[in-house]
Structures are given as structure tokens and as C-alpha cells.
Symmetry: C3
Subunit: 154 residues, 3 copies
């Protein structure tokens, strides 16, 4: 009995075929999340985080906490864009997915930001590393904690 | 009987494990398609589109329609390359795959173009968004419609 | 009997759902391998190659052979970084995975190198093509042969 309970409380990380599905789900999750962010879809983007998520990124003076604050940042981005005309594209790659015994996922990936001025030349704006904790209860994956570091800030 | 026919006409979008396979197939499809394009493999590349595919891209004055016209564009690219020595690499990411009730796939992804002059410095040439309709009958996936937009053209 | 032996000696390349798992495994493998390389984890990175692996890359005067030589190169990179402060990020994409009849994998992908000086502007450093042979016995995938070509060196 004890063994059974322990197994349920600490499900084994996905092995074998399960990993194929898991890796695809996480890629699809991030693709949609980044597209929502770059399209200024504030509320749908905020809902890809848990209600009390912490977003720690060096371009902001302090970590952003909670969906309302996250959505607010996206609306500010939309205003900046409407003035500057600059387009940002956030792009993840080299996604390392590490399933944890508690069912959450730790991910570490590289994050690039491309910047294109209206009518101008595109360029690489930032090279970052992104470390997430992903959780889910009954629904889709959500970010509960995100830490971003920038390569130019040693 | 009616229910069975309806199910066959409108298969459910892939759920669960099927999505793992589907997402991998689409990634593999695009990897091969972009590599064929950058290697000037005109006919093999054109066969990754349906016979009557529409390719709508802002760098051409009008949408390209059909495999013969698509292949012709690749041969023109090969000629330009043999003169200029510039190499282009087309790179997709942030791939969002949305299975449709009719069995087709709608995809939206970011598309980068890298440019490298012979002996020179590589750079980001274009940042684009690519929206595809993918279909298949008995064989592999094929693009039936592609719309590309460029970030620098607001 | 003969048919059975032949099948075992030459397993069929993965079809159907197996491909979903395989493609995810290879992506995860490369993500971890590139992150280890960029973090100067010399020995863990070298263990992603077979003991007698050949690494043929145009930035070195001759192919590197074997794990000890591979790890040595990473330690040299770490020293260069500690002096220059420049950060490199190796990024793969457009991954084409071709399972072979002998159970190995041939992969061809695009490889980008991003460079960020301390406190400076990030840029694309190199655009490359990477062709690998991946093998495995009982454990994880390992690279037995790697050929890298650079777009700027025609």
C-alpha cells in the first residue's frame, strides 16, 4: 500500500513513448506562448502562466508576480510598438526538458529576440537563457516560475 | 451509419499520443523542405507542395501558383547564387500546429532568412511569419497554401 | 528463421508512432549537447560522442579524434572565454533525421553560432551545416562522426 501511495504522489518521469508526446507538447506550448506575446495578446498570454507565477527577467527592475502584472507588461509593449513601429520576435531553441518526480517540468532553453524597425534591417537584439518551471493540474501546461538571463550582462 | 460516415468525413484532430507523432512529422517535413530550397533542388522541393499550391510571398509581385512555377523560382535562385556567391538559409521556429476537423493542418511559424556572402560576415536578412495549410491524401504532407509576411514591411 | 535473423540484423527504420519518440529524443540530445558545450562542461560534453568519434570542423586544422581531444578543445574554449568575456551560443535547427537500416541515424541540420561580447551587442557569428552519424548500443544516442561546413567558406 505504501509503495502504491508513494508512486501516486511521485509519478515516474515519462519514459519511452511518453517522452515523444511530452516534448511535442512543450514545444507547441512555447510556440503559442511566444506568438501570443509578440502579438500583444495580453490576457491569453498571461493565462499561459499560473495565477501566482513569478517572472524574473533582467530588463525589469523587479520580478513580475501574477497574471495581472504580466498582462499589464504586454499592454505596455503594445503601446511602445504603436509609437516606435519596431517589431520583436521571441524565439526559443535548444529546449532541454527535464521531467521532475513531482510531475512538474524544468526546462532550460536559449531565447533569442529579433528586432525589425519598420522599413529597416532586422537584427539580433538579445541572446538569453530561459529557465522555467512548468506545471499542470487538469488543463494545459503553465509556467509557474521563469528566470531569464542575458548574455550581454555578465 | 450516419454517425460513422460523419466521423470519416470529419476525423477528430489528433489527441494524446497522436500529437507527438504529428508534431515530429511536421518538423521533419519543414526541415527537409527548407534544406531542399536552400540547396536549389527545384523539383524535389516543388513536390512538397500540392500540384495547384498557392505561394503568396511579399518578395514576388504576385502569388506563385502550381509546381512548375514554384520550381522555376528555385532555378532562378540557383542562377542568382552562382553569380553572387551569397548563401541563404531559411530557418523556421516557434511552430504552432493546429489540426483542423477536415484533417488538414494550419501552421503558423516564424521564418528567418540568414545571408552569408562568400568570405564575408553572416547576418539576419529577413524576419518573417509563415502561415501554411498542409494536406495529405495517402502520401506525405504537402503545402496547399502558403502566406508569408515580412516584419520590415508593416 | 533466416527472415527473422535478417530482420534483427537490419531493424526497420522507425515508422509511425516510433518516429515521434525518435525525433523528440534527437532534439533533446542536441539541446543538451549544445548547452554542455556552451557551458564548458568538457567531460559531460565529450561523453555525448563515442570513444573514437571523429569531429571534422573547418575552424580546426585537422579533424579531432576521440573524447580526450574533444574535451581538451572545450577546456581551451573556457580559457579563451575567461579572457575575452565573449559568450557563444550554438543553436541547431531544421533538423532532418534519416534512420538507417543498421539502426544508426544520419542527421543534417543548420547550426548557428551567436556571439555576445560582455556589455556589447549580440550578433550572428557563423552559419553552418552539420552532418552527424548517431549511434547507440544500450545507452543514449552518441555522435560517432560529425562534419561541419561553414557558409562563409565556399
Amino acid at each position: 500500500m505504501t509503495a502504491t501511495i508513494a508512486t501516486e504522489a511521485s509519478p515516474r518521469p515519462p519514459q519511452g513513448r511518453e517522452f515523444g508526446l511530452l516534448y511535442a507538447e512543450v514545444q507547441q506550448f512555447y510556440s503559442r506562448q511566444m506568438q501570443l506575446f509578440d502579438s500583444f495578446e495580453a490576457e491569453p498570454w498571461a493565462r499561459t502562466f499560473t495565477e501566482d507565477a513569478v517572472f524574473d527577467v533582467p530588463t525589469l527592475p523587479a520580478p513580475v508576480v501574477g497574471r495581472a502584472a504580466l498582462a499589464s507588461n504586454v499592454r505596455r509593449n503594445a503601446e511602445l510598438h504603436s509609437t516606435s513601429g519596431e517589431k520583436f520576435r521571441h524565439w526559443l531553441g535548444m529546449l532541454d526538458v527535464q521531467p521532475q518526480p513531482d510531475g512538474s517540468l524544468h526546462t532550460r532553453s536559449y531565447a533569442l529576440v529579433y528586432l525589425t524597425p519598420r522599413g529597416g534591417e532586422s537584427k539580433v537584439h538579445r541572446v538569453c537563457v530561459m529557465e522555467d518551471v512548468l506545471v499542470r493540474s487538469s488543463g494545459p501546461w503553465q509556467v509557474s516560475h521563469r528566470l531569464v538571463t542575458r548574455d550581454d550582462l555578465a
